[in-house]
C-alpha cells in the first residue's frame, strides 16, 4: 500500500501537538527549521513564502516571548501579522470562545496561532475555523513549537538525538513543555528521564515515552547529556505542592555541584522565563554550558518552518 506523503513530511493541516507525529514528520520540520536558522545566521532574507497571507496571534494567556517569536517568524516570511492578546478575564468560557473563533474565521486569515489556558482549548477552536491552527500552548496539554525548538537546539549542538540521555526536571505535571518535548525526543530515539517531587510528577508519565520517572533528581542527572530545567510557578511553592522555595532549591535546584553528575559536556536548557535561585543557579544559567539563548533563537526558526509548511506557497 502506498504511503501518504504526510507519512514522510509534515503537512498539517494543523499543528496541535507533537503526540502522534512520527520521526519522519518531526525530522521534516526540524530540517526546514535548520534551513531557516542558517539563513538567519547568514543574515539572508529568504523567499517571502507567506506574502499576502494573514497570521493572527490569538493569545488568551499573556506571553510576550512566545507571541513575539511567532510575530517575528511570520514577518520574516512576509506575512501580515495581527496580534490579539485577549486578557483571559475579558473572555468568557464556552460559547464566547467559539464565537471568537467564528468571528476571526470570517476575516479569512491563513493561520491562527492560539494560546489558551484550558487544555484542549486550541483543539476546540481548530474545529471551528477553515485555516491552519498552530497551538502556542494549551493549558497543561501541549506546546508543540517549544518541543520542536528544544529538539532542534539539541540536534544542532549534539549532531543527533538518538541515544542521548535527556533529564527533564521540575514541575512535570503542570508542564505542556515537558509533554511536547518528551514526545518529540522519544520519537527520535532519545532516552528521556523525568524528575521532580512526587507532587509534580504525573501518574501516567511512564506512558509518555520516558525511560525513567523518578523523584531523585541526582539519579536523573547521572551521566545526562542534556539537563532541561522547567519553570516552577511561584504560586505552587506556597505549601500546596511544595513547602517552600528554599526546600525546592535544596532538593531539586540545579546547582554547580549537582550538575557535576551529568556528562562533562552536558548542555543546560530552560524554556524560560527562569526563576533564578529556585530551579537554577544563575551561574549555570549564564554559564558556558547553557544553551538557553540558543533555544530562543531556534524558536523563531522552528516557527518559521511550521508556518511555511502549513501555509507557505509552494516554491515557484
Amino acid at each position: 500500500m502506498a504511503r501518504e506523503q504526510s507519512d514522510y513530511t509534515f503537512t498539517g493541516p494543523h499543528l496541535l501537538g507533537l503526540m502522534g507525529l512520527n520521526p519522519l514528520q518531526l525530522t521534516s520540520i526540524l530540517d526546514k527549521a535548520d534551513h531557516y536558522a542558517e539563513q538567519a545566521r547568514a543574515s539572508q532574507r529568504g523567499a517571502p513564502v507567506l506574502k499576502n497571507k494573514t497570521v493572527i496571534n490569538l493569545f488568551f494567556e499573556n506571553s510576550t516571548r512566545t507571541m513575539s517569536s511567532f510575530e517575528i517568524a511570520a514577518k520574516r516570511l512576509g506575512a501580515d501579522v495581527v496580534n490579539m492578546p485577549v486578557a483571559a478575564s475579558s473572555v468568557k468560557k464556552g460559547e464566547t470562545l467559539i464565537d471568537t473563533a467564528m468571528t476571526l474565521n470570517a476575516m479569512k486569515p491563513d493561520v491562527i496561532v492560539i494560546r489558551h489556558s484550558a487544555s484542549g482549548g486550541v483543539k476546540l477552536l481548530s474545529r471551528k475555523v477553515d485555516c491552519a491552527v498552530i497551538n502556542a500552548g494549551d493549558g497543561m496539554h501541549e506546546h508543540p513549537t517549544q518541543g520542536l525548538l528544544d529538539t532542534l537546539t539539541i540536534r544542532r549542538e549534539k549532531g543527533r538525538i538518538e541515544g542521548l540521555k535527556v533529564a527533564i526536571c521540575g514541575d512535570i505535571v503542570h508542564s505542556r513543555v515537558a509533554r511536547s518535548t518528551t514526545y518529540a525526543l522519544h520519537q527520535l530515539g532519545a532516552r528521556v528521564r523525568l524528575a521532580g517531587p512526587r507532587t509534580l510528577l504525573p501518574g501516567d508519565a511512564s506512558d509518555w515515552g520516558a525511560e525513567v520517572v523518578t523523584t531523585d533528581i541526582d539519579a536523573a542527572l547521572d551521566g545526562a547529556d542534556i539537563v532541561m530545567m522547567l519553570r516552577l510557578q511561584l504560586e505552587r511553592m506556597d505549601g500546596a505542592y511544595l513547602p517552600s522555595r528554599r526546600e525546592y532549591f535544596r532538593f531539586y535546584g540545579l546547582t554547580q555541584e549537582r550538575l557535576k553528575r551529568a556528562a562533562p559536556d552536558a548542555l543546560v536548557m530552560h524554556p524560560g522565563p527562569m526563576n533564578r535561585g529556585i530551579e537554577i543557579e544563575s551561574a549555570i544559567a549564564d554559564g558556558p554550558r547553557s544553551v538557553i539563548t540558543e533555544q530562543v533563537e531556534m524558536g523563531v526558526a522552528v516557527r518559521m518552518a511550521v508556518l511555511d509548511m502549513l501555509a507557505g506557497s509552494a516554491p515557484s
Binding site: 517531587p197 512526587r198 505549601g239 500546596a240 505542592y241 513547602p243 526546600e247 535544596r250 532538593f251
Partner: protein
C-alpha cells in the same frame, strides 16, 4: 569505661531471647551479651548484680508531648526525660504540637540538641503542615535532614483530603513517614467520650467509632495512592484493625500504634466523670479493648505508645465536657502492658516487642535490641513487683494519670542510656 551487668534474665524481643545471662558494655555500646556472660571482664569499672531481674532493651515511646516550647508549666523536655528514664523509656519522640509548632528546621534542632538536663534520647516529629493548620505543607525534606523522624499533624489530622494526599506524596518522595491520627473532625464534633449507651447515660456527647474508621480508610487509601509510608496513630477500635489488615494485604506500607491506656481501660472507667480518663481517642468498648489486645498478641501492632499528654490541674478540674483531653502516661506504660502478661493473654517477649524493636523498626532508628555494637540503652525491671500508682509519687510535672490509685505490677529498677546508669530506684 566497661560496665558488666550480670546474673540477669535477658529479654530481647528482636531475637526471641529469654535466657539467663549478662551484658558487657564498653564505650556506650553492647560489647557482649548472652548466656556466656557470667563474669565481669578485667578492668570493668562497674559491676551490677541484676539479682535475676529482667534485663531488656530500653523502651522507645513514639508519642510524647511536653509543654516545651511554650507551655513549660505542663512539662519540659527535661522533666519528661526524668519521668521516662524512671520507667525504662530511653528514647522518646516528641510531638510537634507545641507553641510554636515544630514546623521548621530550627525548632527540630532546638528539641534534639544535646542538653545535659535531658538524659533520655530525644527525637522530634515534624509538623506535616505549617503551624499544623492543615493548609500548607511544612518543610518536610529539610526537617527530615535535620533529624525529624516522622511527620504528623498531631491530634487534629489534616481535614482536606487533597492537601493530605499531596503532603503524603511529597513525603514519599523524601522517603519520609507520615503518622496520622485516623479521625474525622466533623464526626467527632464536640464529643468527649466513646459514643454509646454509657455516654448517653452520663449525658455526655459521644465520639463515634466511625469517625476513626472513615479517617483510617481515607488515610490508608491515600497511602496506597501515593506510596507513602503511613503510621496509624493510636488505633482504638476493632474495625480499624480490620481496615489496617486489609490495606496491608494490598501491600500498603502501613504501621499502627496503640496507646497503652487503651489496652487497660474501657469506656466504663470514665465512671463518675473522671476527667483523667478523658483522652482522645477515647477509651472504647470492652470488645474494642479485647480486639486491641488480640492484635497485640498477633503482632499486628508495631508500637505501644504512652500518648503522654501532661495537663495541669486547671485543665482537668473542670466539668468533664470542658476538661482537656490527655493523660500523663510515661510512667505507667510498662505496667499497663505487663498487666496483659500477668492476666494471661500475652507472653513477656510479645509484650515487650512493641515497646522496643517494634517502634525502632517502624521508624528506622537504632536501638530497641540487644546486639553486639548496639547502643547500650537498657532497662532492668522486675515484672512482678506490686506498686500503687499515686499521683504525688509521679515524676512527670503534670500528674493527670488515669492510673491514679490503681494497683499495678512491674517496676523498673535501673535504666541505662549509652551504658551510663541514668536511673536507679531506691
Amino acid at each position: 569505661m566497661i560496665t558488666a551487668i550480670l546474673n540477669a534474665r535477658l529479654l530481647d524481643p528482636a531475637t526471641g531471647t529469654d535466657l539467663p545471662g549478662g551484658v558487657i558494655v564498653e564505650n556506650g555500646k553492647v560489647a557482649a551479651w548472652g548466656q556466656g556472660v557470667t563474669e565481669a571482664p578485667s578492668g570493668a569499672g562497674k559491676v551490677v548484680d541484676a539479682g535475676g531481674l529482667c534485663l531488656a532493651p530500653g523502651m522507645i515511646d513514639l508519642r510524647v508531648k511536653t509543654g516545651e516550647p511554650g507551655e513549660e508549666q505542663r512539662e519540659t523536655v527535661a522533666t519528661a526525660s526524668r519521668a521516662a528514664l524512671s520507667a525504662g523509656v530511653t528514647q522518646m519522640v516528641l510531638m510537634p504540637d507545641t507553641r510554636p509548632v515544630i514546623d521548621d528546621v530550627a525548632l527540630v534542632e532546638f528539641l534534639t540538641n544535646e542538653d545535659p538536663e535531658v538524659e533520655a534520647r530525644v527525637h522530634a516529629a515534624g509538623a506535616l503542615t505549617v503551624g499544623l493548620g492543615g493548609k500548607a505543607m511544612a518543610e518536610i525534606g529539610l526537617m527530615k535532614l535535620a533529624g525529624a523522624v516522622f511527620f504528623t499533624n498531631g491530634d487534629e489530622p489534616v481535614a482536606d483530603a487533597s492537601i493530605l494526599k499531596r503532603a503524603m506524596a511529597y513525603a514519599a518522595s523524601h522517603e519520609a513517614i507520615v503518622m496520622s491520627r485516623p479521625d474525622t473532625a466533623s464526626l467527632r464534633g464536640s464529643g468527649v467520650m466513646n459514643a454509646g449507651s454509657f455516654a448517653a447515660r452520663l449525658g455526655l456527647k459521644g465520639i463515634p467509632r466511625e469517625a476513626e474508621w472513615i479517617g483510617a480508610a481515607r488515610d490508608l487509601m491515600l497511602a496506597e495512592a501515593t506510596g507513602c509510608r503511613l503510621i496509624l496513630d493510636q488505633v482504638s477500635t476493632a474495625r480499624t484493625l480490620e481496615l489496617l489488615a486489609e490495606a496491608r494485604a494490598r501491600g500498603v506500607k502501613a504501621g499502627a500504634t496503640v496507646a497503652a491506656h487503651s489496652l487497660f481501660f474501657n469506656e466504663m472507667d470514665v465512671g463518675d466523670y473522671l476527667t483523667y480518663c478523658k483522652v482522645n481517642p477515647p477509651f472504647r468498648a470492652e470488645a474494642d479493648r479485647q480486639a486491641l489486645i488480640a492484635a497485640l498478641a498477633a503482632g499486628e501492632i508495631d508500637a505501644v505508645v504512652s500518648a503522654h499528654d501532661p495537663q495541669p490541674p486547671e485543665q482537668k478540674r473542670l466539668p468533664f465536657a470542658e476538661a482537656s483531653f490527655g493523660a500523663a502516661g510515661l510512667e505507667t506504660t510498662l505496667s499497663a502492658v505487663l498487666s496483659l502478661v500477668h492476666d494471661g493473654p500475652l507472653d513477656l517477649l510479645t509484650a515487650l516487642k512493641p515497646l522496643t524493636c517494634g517502634p525502632t523498626d517502624l521508624i528506622g532508628i537504632e536501638g530497641g535490641r540487644l546486639a553486639e555494637g548496639a547502643p547500650a540503652d537498657l532497662m532492668l525491671f522486675d515484672p512482678g513487683t506490686p506498686w500503687k500508682c499515686e499521683r504525688e509519687d509521679l515524676i512527670t510535672r503534670s500528674t493527670n494519670s488515669p492510673f491514679d490509685g490503681r494497683l499495678l505490677q512491674g517496676r523498673v529498677m535501673r535504666t541505662f542510656v549509652r551504658g551510663c546508669e541514668v536511673f536507679a530506684r531506691g
